[in-house]
Each structure stands twice: as structure tokens, then as C-alpha cells.
């Protein structure tokens, strides 16, 4: 940005902040009710997870109905991403990155299924079905037992096999960024 446009921008911000009426002319307040409709993100500490629960057994049915066509009957061999197996391959010449071998957080699995899957109808699974199918995928990877069940407390407590498999780029390491200010 040139110093001229910086100066213009600074002026514009000062102008906007100097007058609350003008500030409100840009956009309108969001209401809590409408924000809740879009506020779907889930963090590793479980913040953002909705109420509900689901079992591995129910998840097997949800998976067969909504996921197997692309990801294969057991999360292997489908036309889209493989979801199961691959543990022990990450340092080989042919790494297999799956939920079980690579994904560091189980909360990310819930978030991704909830926002983006099934591919043709994202957001169509209920919260209970999303917990259930996440439980089933974790079970296929040996992370949950066959009689397992997930809800927002138990999901965020799962430690994924590759949880410690990531190294942050030093410039943008979340543990260090912003700490020196």
C-alpha cells in the first residue's frame, strides 16, 4: 500500500469511527438468532460443538446411506478420499493420509462432516447423525470401540494417533505468535 493510500485509509477509518451514525451506515447489527444459524465452527477444545450424541452402530448405517458411495464400504477403496488405515506410512515413499493416520483432531472431523458433507447435500445430516458417523469413522480406525458413543464432551477428549505429528512453521506458530507484544 502506498503512503498516500495509507493516509487516505487512516482518514477514512477515523471518519467512520468519529461518527457512530456513519459507522452504522456500513452494515447493520447482527442479531444473536441469525448469527447462530451460521456459527458452525468447532474448535479442538470442543467450543462450538452442538448438543446431541451418536453411536458407532448408528454411524455404520449413516455411513452406508451417505458416505460409502464415494469413500468405499469401510472408508477404503472409494472414488474419493480414503478415510481409514495408513498408520505407519507417513515417513514412507508412499504416505497414506487418512483420518486415522493423519488428522490431528477429532473435533475437525465433526466440523468438516457437519459443514461440507455429504458432498451433494452439505449440512443435511442432523447433529446426532454427525456424531454417529464421526464415531463410526473413528471406530474403523481403531480409535473408538464397537460400542462407542460420541457427544460434545467425549469428542473433544479423544487424542488422535497423529496428534503430535505437526510442526508449526516458526513464523506463524500459534504458541509463539502475539506472545511478545
Amino acid at each position: 500500500m502506498s503512503s498516500t493510500s495509507k493516509a487516505l485509509l487512516t482518514g477514512a477509518i477515523a471518519l467512520a469511527l468519529g461518527s457512530p451514525v456513519l459507522a452504522y451506515d456500513f452494515g447493520r447489527p447482527a442479531t444473536p438468532g441469525e448469527t447462530a444459524l451460521w456459527d458452525i465452527d468447532v474448535r479442538p477444545d470442543g467450543k462450538g460443538l452442538p448438543p446431541g450424541s451418536g453411536t458407532v452402530a448408528h454411524g455404520q448405517q449413516v455411513f452406508a446411506d451417505n458416505c460409502a458411495a464415494c469413500h468405499g464400504d469401510n472408508g477404503v477403496g472409494g472414488i474419493k478420499d480414503r478415510l481409514v488405515g495408513g498408520q505407519g506410512t507417513l515417513a514412507s515413499d508412499a504416505p497414506v493420509k487418512t483420518v486415522g493416520s493423519f488428522w490431528p483432531y477429532a473435533t475437525t472431523l465433526f466440523d468438516y462432516i457437519h459443514r461440507a458433507m455429504p458432498y451433494q447435500a452439505p449440512g443435511s445430516l442432523s447433529n446426532d447423525d454427525t456424531y454417529a458417523v464421526a464415531a463410526y469413522i473413528l471406530h474403523l480406525n481403531g480409535i473408538l470401540p464397537a460400542d462407542g458413543r460420541l457427544d460434545r464432551d467425549s469428542l473433544s477428549e479423544i487424542k488422535m494417533p497423529n496428534r503430535d505429528g505437526f510442526v508449526p512453521e516458526p513464523e506463524f506458530d500459534p504458541a509463539k505468535l502475539f506472545r511478545t507484544k
Binding site: 500500500m1 447489527p29 448469527t35 451460521w38 465452527d41 493423519f102 505437526f166 506458530d173
Partner: protein, 426 residues
């Protein structure tokens, strides 16, 4: 005599830098005129040029000449080319057919995770919320009414270059190897202004940016001073509203950072105090090293360059060749580009065409007289922060071959005894 159209004098070239001058070119070409005109029709005469005639009516917009064949190519992963468009995950820019440094809007590379949504700008909304004093909803007209910035920047998919991690297919063009980078002028509202309007909490240093595509692509963005000063929410692309493939009606522009962070079809900005660890920043856009650990939050795009002509699958003849290409860096401006025409044994500084802008592609060029012997040509860029594009051997020694993303090693083109140009590793 030499055809005037072959004289590659770039009037925009910076005369202060090494490279072409008309006098040098003509001196060189005089001695080589025979080799340059060889291959032209022997009886070329102005009498053969068709007579002038009245042309087509004026129109509402201009199409390309019917004589120009130029398009992107949809592709899937490394080695998965010539796929059905429904199986493609990206569509690459024809770098070998473009001039200057600005990519035409319809040829800007394209990447999407769930197709190009059909978004009605009247119904589209941007929600800005989270750790803020007053969450706000903006419509597109609100954003267009606000103070704006325009900036020419490159956007590059982190997968650019991924064809050459493990092997080099000799049939690849530069469109195949490097077509996931483009440069446009973008116009929009500074992120900083939106942050001031909602009153971001001082404790919030991370922002989630989320798209309105089916996948709801979402990335966590650290609010460093650099990003706060440079990021903006764009509605304009090369002077017109965004094209649908590039985020219509609004997208985030993050100069110098991973293409995936420039969230298209933007519908939500949420402020928080830590990253969200979305699928894209954990399972997808992370780089697996040889030891099996993956580098995360490698957000900046590296110093890079590639010769676009002569490049893969082209044929050249002995004599004068203009070498030209593009260089770019997510760190800042390109400071210099060096070219080797003897397999990286010796290097000569290329001319940089003006303007040289930070975090934008820069056009470079250099004279070359090919002696007809097999050789290899390579470009190497250095940016104004001192970052130098790495040679492939050192690069692979440091990263392994499994990273998939962030490949910026030197690109080598080999030239064989008949002038065939091919993609090779080094």
C-alpha cells in the same frame, strides 16, 4: 530482412537494468538474419496480405480473435491430466501464451473444493462477529460504498509445481508445471476498516474466514501487522465485479499468502484467540516431511520463478532466442532474476520489466544466442528480503518429496540437439 514484429524491444523495460537494447539486438540479428528468417515462406510479400475491408458491428463486449486459441486446462492431482472437468480440482493458467504480468480475468487459475456456486449478490451477506463489540452484517452494496483499495497481487495455489516433486514428465508445458499462479488487480475494502467497525477485542489475534460455497471452506488467519495492513475484502477484479470462479460477489485477498487463504465467496469473518484447526489447515494444506511430521501454518508463498519461453514442448532454432518468464514472491518485490543457459554453471542477470510490484508477478527477459548444442536453461529469483529460490537438490534434501504443497525449486528446461524443449528435474 528481419520481420519487424520479431524485434522484442520492450518499451516498458527498465533501461537501468541489464538486458535488451535495440542496438544490441540489431547488431546480433544482423549476423544471424539468415537463421531467423529461415522457415518463413520464401515468397512473403505485402501483396499477399488481404485487402482492407469493413468490419463487424460494435458490440456490448469484446471477444478474443478467432485466430487466438488460448484457454486454461482443468486438471486433477499430480499426473492426473486430461481429466473430465467434473473430476478436475483446478484449472491452470496458460502462462506460455500470456504477455506482461497481468492475467486476463477469464484465464486466472481456478481452484474450488465444491464447484463454483451461483450466488445472487442481492442475497449475499457477510457476517463479521466473534470477539467483537458489535457484530455486523454487510451486504455487497455496503462494502462497495466504503473506502476502497486497489492492488495488483499474485495469487498462487500451494499445489503449484506439484508435478515435479518425485519425477519430471517430459511432456509437460509450463501451464502444466506452473499454471496455478496468476496476477490480477483486485479492489475492495481493507480488512482493517471492517475490524474497526465491529470493534475487535484486543485479545483476538486469529480470524476465521469462511466461504459460501457448498464445502464452506474455512481457514484460520493470524492477525499479524502485515496481514492487518494488507488484507482486504474484494469485489473488483481487473476493473469489473469478480468472476464467479474467483469468488463472486466477494472474496478475501491475502497478498503473498497461500491461495487457499484468499477465501472465495466470502460469507463470514469470525474473530477468536486461537486457530480453529479446520480440515484445510490440518489434513489438507500441510506439508509432510521425510520424517513423517507435517509442517503446519506454512502460510506464506515462497520466492519463485519460471521461464515461460522457451518452455516445455516448444521447439527452438539455433540463433537468437528471447528468454522470458515470470517471477514472484510472497515476501515482497522481486529484486533480481538470474538466468543460466548452461545447466546452472553460470548465471546472467535478466532484465525486469516495469512495474515491479510487491507480491505481484514480474516479467523478466534476456537475450540468448543458442549455438544448437544440447543444454539446459534455468531461472533463479531473489526477492527484496534476500530470499533466493532454491535449487532442486537442496530443496528436496531439506523437504523430502512428500510435501505435495509449497514447491518452489528452480525449474529446469532441457533443450536437445533438435531444439526440443522439455521438462526435467534438474
Amino acid at each position: 530482412m528481419t520481420n519487424q514484429s520479431d524485434i522484442p524491444v520492450e518499451e516498458r523495460g527498465n533501461p537501468g537494468q541489464s538486458g535488451l537494447s535495440r542496438r544490441n539486438f540489431i547488431a546480433a540479428s544482423t549476423g544471424l538474419a539468415g537463421s531467423i528468417v529461415a522457415g518463413r515462406a520464401a515468397a512473403d510479400s505485402l501483396a499477399d496480405v488481404p485487402p482492407r475491408e469493413v468490419g463487424a458491428d460494435l458490440g456490448g463486449h469484446s471477444e478474443r480473435s478467432k485466430y487466438v486459441k488460448i484457454s486454461r486446462i482443468p486438471e486433477a492431482g499430480p499426473g492426473k491430466r486430461n481429466v473430465d472437468p467434473s473430476d478436475a480440482i483446478n484449472s491452470k493458467t496458460p502462462l506460455d501464451k500470456l504477455f506482461g504480468s497481468i492475467t486476463p480475468s477469464d484465464l486466472h487459475y481456478e481452484r474450488s473444493h465444491s464447484g463454483v456456486p451461483d450466488l445472487d449478490p442481492v442475497k449475499h451477506r457477510l457476517l463479521v462477529h466473534g470477539m467483537v463489540r458489535k457484530p455486523l452484517v454487510f451486504n455487497v452494496d455496503d462494502l462497495k460504498a466504503m473506502p476502497s483499495v486497489s492492488r495488483v497481487v499474485f495469487i498462487e495455489c500451494t499445489g503449484n509445481g506439484w508435478e515435479n516433486w518425485k519425477k519430471a514428465d517430459e511432456n509437460l508445458t509450463v501451464q502444466n508445471t506452473h499454471g496455478l499462479v496468476s496476477t490480477n488487480e483486485w479492489t475492495g475494502v481493507p480488512l482493517k476498516l471492517l475490524i474497526e467497525l465491529v470493534g475487535k477485542d484486543r485479545g483476538s489475534n486469529w480470524m476465521l474466514a469462511e466461504g459460501g460455497d457448498a464445502a464452506g471452506v474455512a481457514r484460520s488467519i493470524p492477525l499479524t501487522d502485515e496481514i492487518l495492513n494488507e488484507a482486504f475484502v474484494a469485489y473488483g477484479q481487473n476493473g469489473e465485479p469478480l468472476r464467479p470462479a474467483h469468488g463472486f460477489p466477494i472474496r478475501l485477498i491475502m497478498p503473498g499468502f497461500e491461495g487457499n487463504l484468499n477465501i472465495k465467496w466470502l460469507r463470514r469473518l469470525k474473530f477468536g484467540d486461537r486457530p480453529w484447526m479446520t480440515r484445510w489447515e490440518t489434513a489438507r494444506y500441510t506439508q509432510l516431511e521425510a520424517n513423517g511430521k507435517a509442517i503446519q501454518f506454512q502460510l506464506r508463498m515462497e520466492t519463485n520463478s519460471v521461464i515461460t519461453s522457451p518452455s516445455g514442448t516448444m521447439m527452438i532454432k539455433p540463433g537468437y532466442q528471447r528468454i522470458t518468464g515470470l517471477a514472484w514472491s510472497g515476501h515482497g518485490k522481486i529484486a533480481k532474476v538470474e538466468i543460466s543457459t548452461d545447466d546452472a554453471k553460470s548465471w546472467k542477470e535478466a532484465q525486469l520489466n516495469l512495474p515491479v510490484l510487491p507480491k505481484a508477478q514480474t516479467r523478466f527477459q534476456m537475450d540468448w544466442i543458442w549455438d544448437g548444442k544440447p543444454t539446459k536453461i534455468v531461472s533463479r529469483s531473489t526477492d527484496d528480503k534476500g530470499n533466493v529460490q532454491p535449487d532442486r537438490k537442496s530443496f528436496i534434501a531439506a523437504t523430502g518429496t512428500n510435501a505435495l504443497f509449497h514447491y518452489n525449486a528452480l525449474q529446469t528446461w532441457s533443450v536437445d540437439e533438435i531444439g526440443r524443449v522439455r521438462n526435467v528435474l534438474d
